[in-house]
Amino acid sequence: MLSIQIHKQFDAFALALELNAPQEKIIVLFGASGAGKSLTLAAIAGFVTPDAGRIAIGERVLFDAACGVNLSPQARRLGMMRQDLALFPHLSVADNIAYGLQNKTRAARAARVRELLALTQLENFGARNIAELSGGQQQRVALARALAIEPALLLLDEPFSALDAQTRVDLRRQVKTLQQRLRANIFFVTHGLGEAVWLADEMAVLDAGRILQMATPREILRAPKTARVAEIIGVKNILPAQIVNATTLRVGEMELRVEPHALAPHARGMLCVRPERVMLVRPDSPNAERGNTLTGILLDEESDGDTVALRFRSDGARLQPTRAFDLQIDVPVYVYERLNLARERHWRVALKPQALHLVTL
């Protein structure tokens, strides 16, 4: 069990983090810049001393304010890899990897370096200078150097954010494979949702120094615990709702059917609808009259090349009467073209009960 409790007060920011996670997994700490991710890593690595708390990997206690335990960074035996890599520019690839093995014999060191060069597919690069390597190769050296000391925990601080998309995907895959092979404990910090979901066995959502939710990425995507979590993980439609009964909500001027929930009538909550889960139905389609539908117009759109974000406003009863639009709907570009959405602006949208997720305030 990886057990982390950190309390640290700064002038304008407080870190109050509690997290328990199974070992031999990839734990992803996900949050926006300024959420406290790097600070958390610095505290785990021993470069920042918490005011209170306890950090332990299994039976091994790295920090315990109550007992006065505070191991030095050297004694913690954690491998670190940062976005800026911090490779030693005056040492060769092999010497970088061997750096943490200075108390081993020369032969043991050489054997370990060979092993790691093979593991990271850098077999022929041992004698090279760091500056001669590509960005992706440098990342692999940094990873090999961190793995060389057989760390009790591997801390990865946004390691791939400076890379191009293709290299990033390759390295992500390598990290996952390596983790499964070595059964390593990995603590991975990122602000990229895709990366977090792809890598995580367990994912912790960090915001303003606190962990809002920790679960498998599937679970977090399916059922964010609070409106803030929903917002952080990219749920674009978060609508105030009032409970009518176990399967019905009142949202704006409409009543929507939802899957059974446990909240009492008249309670208030927030309805989360992922923008890609809103269905577009042709207004004249025969099977469109089954509730949870709105007829209206597509107001405008934005595209990032892959996805088009459409803003939809109901003609009749509104979900958000005070706003210019009711729903954001994301469709892939090919669907946008196939449905001829550039011309045809009148649609009926369907909100299936399983696409609706209710959170308490």
Binding site: A45, G46, F47, S72, P73, Q74, A75, R76, R77, L78, G79, M80, R82, D84, A86, F88, P89, H90, Y99, G100, Q102, R145, A146, I149
Partner: protein, 274 residues
Amino acid sequence: MAIFKANLARARARFNSGRIALLGLASLLTLFLTLPLLALTLRAIPLGIDAWLSAATLAALQLSLITATLATLIALAIGTPVAYILAREQFRGKPLVDTLIDVPMVLPPAVAGIALLMAFGRRGLLGPALSVWGIELPFTTAAVVIAETFVAAPFYVRSAKAGFGAVDRKLERMSASLGISNFKTFFRITLPLAAPSLISGLLMTWARALGEFGATIMFAGNFPGRTQTMPLAIYSGLESNLDSALALAMILVVVSFVILFAARAQSPKGLTLG
């Protein structure tokens, strides 16, 4: 047609009057800086072997090499930790310490000489205390080393400080996280990365110590074989033995040039004294 016009414009630009004036000034300055060295060289070339190898020349050369090297070693031993602290630590009064260490670089050497006398002279601040131990510094070879260290050490401290300051602390943290002690980290990461600045600082210090004149003559006097370094020998030679003075001057010119050249090659961004 367009190409022709562009060529014409470029030709005009090349010969415009501002550019010509600039080039003229640059040539004038270069000439002004080179001419004395050239004149010296022209006089030194025909010198006979006895001018280069006379006892006086060799004695001054030997004394200069020994004292400048000792001064540089002292600067290395004491200046390195000072430079490291100035580069890495924040403390009250740091700007003051920084400035004080730099002062000897801009101080007229005569002022340095009189100040050293006031500190270590027989009737100076520490004179009585030193004489209790039977130590008398002024007008000894030790005084030469002290004068040279006083004037030249700041060059090393400045350069080393810049070198340590430029070493990325992330690398040191990374070394710590890999289990390496702070002491070892200094020798494996910090020192090698700062080495070019340290070496260029040492070269500059050595060259400055070698050329020290004013502070030395005031604090150590001008005694052949004991305190008469090369610059002092040149000064005396002007009256008694011009050939020997010319030979020594020529040696100093060559040494200065080689040192500056080497320091420039060491320092990645070219030579800076800051």
